[in-house]
């Protein structure tokens, strides 16, 4: 008994639609562990019109890698919830979860982070339209690294 990539994608979709956070499947020597990513932290980039933010003593330090500056003001950042390998599509050759211009809800899956064969979903965390995709497919992303930016809508 083997699992095809299509089966895995189907199982992932089932988990997505369920109310569970993790799924462990063992059959005929095949082991599959799926984990719903905790909603990626969303940070609202401050608009240029607002006053410069006052640094707080407890403010977390900036992420190690500086993402390129946003092309427009008011974009929300979708940050990586984990260090791992970022995938834009459910599997190689398939269309990406989202492209620039895609409309997303808070819980729309926008990517996968792999940590030692454990797949974690990344959700948009904000309702809006994908404005920029920063992280490269199949590249190492760090915790808190900006994966993409979303133009929020009310």
């Amino acid at each position: 008994m083997t699992l095809t990539a299509k089966d895995v994608a189907e199982i992932m979709r089932l988990l997505e639609e369920s109310s569970f956070d993790t799924l462990s499947l063992e059959m005929g020597g095949v082991k599959l562990n799926l984990q719903r990513g905790s909603a990626a932290p969303v940070r609202q980039a401050s608009a240029p019109a607002t006053a410069a933010p006052v640094p707080q003593a407890t403010a977390p330090p900036p992420p190690a890698q500086k993402a390129r500056p946003p092309s427009e003001a008011g974009l929300a950042e979708v940050a990586s919830p984990l260090l791992g390998i970022f995938y834009r599509a459910p599997k190689p050759g398939e269309p990406p979860f989202v492209e620039v211009g895609a409309k997303v809800e808070e819980d729309t899956v926008v990517g996968i982070i792999e940590v030692m064969k454990l797949m974690n979903t990344v959700r948009a965390g904000v309702k809006g339209q994908v404005a920029e995709i920063i992280a490269e497919n199949a590249a190492l992303v760090e915790y808190g690294e900006v994966l993409m930016r979303v133009r929020p809508v009310k």
Partner: protein
């Protein structure tokens, strides 16, 4: 195979110290740092820093999969685990073995063999290394039988404990069943393992440990001993080498015991075998083995001139031991003081915060291993070690004098430290004489409290 890039899976002074050796060896470094450490000294020294997670260790430094994924992601050949965190978790060594990443340390099996205190005790007995009278007890009846044989006072130790954690002293045999029930329950809660064993409680003991290096194929050399008897609640505060005032032949015997123990394991990398020296009986017993580089390793480096991290890397790289036993010198005396961000006036309570100004000592025979600079943050999530001041001199009196000067040169503003406390301990006649037992610091603190009381009342 040659190690060209190392992922440092640690923080603080040990991360900075490992990076320095890597730089000297021409090896690239990638620091795996939590969000709280992205602006730390090791992050500034490393060729690259990757953020592995939030500040809380369980979300970053303690995640085996994340660490190995980071190593694979940055194409590191090897991982250096430092001390603490994952350094003695067999899981990290094992996943490294599976993924083809070199773990700079012992094998997973060796970490397991010495991590289980009962198994380590059995290994010691099997290699002919003396252990304190005692053994495993499963029932209260067994405990009473063994307790009567050894005689009180006794120590109940948790198999999963170590480093002073999970121990209970029993002074009267009739209290043994009750104490054993409690110890087992506490051990279960703290270590997930209710097994305990009994040992004779040594009234006056010294903590003497032996630094060893093994090639993983059965060849082991020792790099002398360290005396770490100045402890507060099993936390080491001052360490020195050589151990002062040991009886004749004692030193040679304790070195030989450490080598025998680790040879039998075909131990790989740097490790430390800890012994309890029973002052009244003139005997020594195996305590435990630490399968990692230790905080106090620089005193050994000072008197031998050997870079232990460089040797760890060489062994991990398959180059074996580059030294023979007779190549290991032992020149003079070295002492280390651990400078912690903790407040002696508030029962040594940790005092995290921002260091406004830090001025460290320098000069002939003075080494400072630190991650603290002016403006550095001491996050509350980690241990309070700020710096280790190590001095080296021809003999103990000169080393003590050098340490006094070094401490006087040191200034840290912004957080409370134990700097002044160190100066007080160094001025104590009992410590100056040398060879104190592990009860020394508690006695010193009692005397100090009494004097302060007199001063207040007078």
């Amino acid at each position: 195979m040659a190690i060209r890039r190392i992922l440092i899976a640690n923080r603080g002074e040990i991360a900075a110290r490992v990076i320095r050796t890597c730089k000297a060896l021409g090896i690239e470094t990638v620091l795996a740092a939590s969000q709280a450490d992205l602006d730390s000294l090791p992050a500034r020294l490393a060729d690259r820093t990757v953020c592995i997670g939030p500040a809380r260790p369980s979300d970053s430094y303690l995640r085996v999969e994340t660490i190995v994924q980071a190593a694979l992601g940055v194409k590191a050949d090897a991982i250096h685990p430092g001390y603490g965190f994952l350094s003695e978790r067999p899981a990290l060594a094992r996943v490294c073995e599976q993924e083809g990443v070199t773990f700079i340390g012992p094998t997973a099996a060796q970490i397991e063999a010495v991590g289980d205190k009962l198994r380590a005790r059995a290994e010691a007995e099997a290699s002919g290394v003396p252990t304190a009278p005692g053994g495993a007890v499963e029932t209260e009846h067994e405990a009473m039988l063994l307790g009567r044989e050894i005689g009180p006072p006794l120590l109940i130790k948790a198999v999963g404990g170590g480093g002073g954690r999970g121990m209970k002293r029993v002074d009267r045999l009739e209290h043994l069943p009750e104490a054993m029930r409690m110890a087992a329950a506490e051990a279960g809660a703290a270590f997930g393992d209710t097994r305990v064993y009994l040992e004779r409680f040594v009234a006056r003991g010294r903590h003497v440990e032996v630094q060893i290096l093994g090639d993983g194929n059965g060849r082991v050399i020792h790099l002398g001993e360290r005396d770490c008897s100045v402890q507060r609640r099993y936390q080491k505060l001052i360490e020195e080498t050589p151990a002062p005032l040991l009886p004749p032949n004692f030193r040679e015997n304790i070195h030989a015991a450490a080598v025998k123990f680790t040879e039998r394991l075909s131990y790989r990398s740097a490790g430390t075998v800890e012994f309890l020296v029973d002052v009244d009986r003139g005997a020594f017993y195996f305590l435990e083995m630490n399968a990692r580089i230790q905080v106090e390793h620089p005193v050994t480096e000072a008197v031998t001139g050997i870079d232990l991290v460089a040797e760890q890397i060489a062994v991990a790289d398959g180059r074996g031991l580059r030294l023979k036993q007779h190549d290991v010198p032992a020149k003079g005396c070295a002492i280390e003081c651990r400078i912690n961000a903790e407040d002696p006036a508030r029962d040594f309570h940790p005092s995290p915060g921002t260091v406004r100004r830090a001025a460290w000592p320098a000069g002939e025979g003075v080494r400072v291993d630190t991650h603290v600079f002016s403006g550095a943050r001491i996050p509350p999530f980690y241990d309070s070690l700020m710096a280790k001041i190590i001095v080296h001199a021809a003999d103990r009196p000169s080393a003590l004098e050098r340490m006094r000067r070094a401490l006087a040169e040191t200034h840290v503003d912004g957080v409370a430290t134990n700097l002044a406390f160190h100066t007080e301990v160094l001025g104590d006649p009992e410590f100056a004489r040398g060879g104190v037992d592990t009860g020394f610091l508690a006695r010193f603190l009692d005397r100090r409290a009494a004097q302060q009381q007199v001063a207040t009342n007078g």
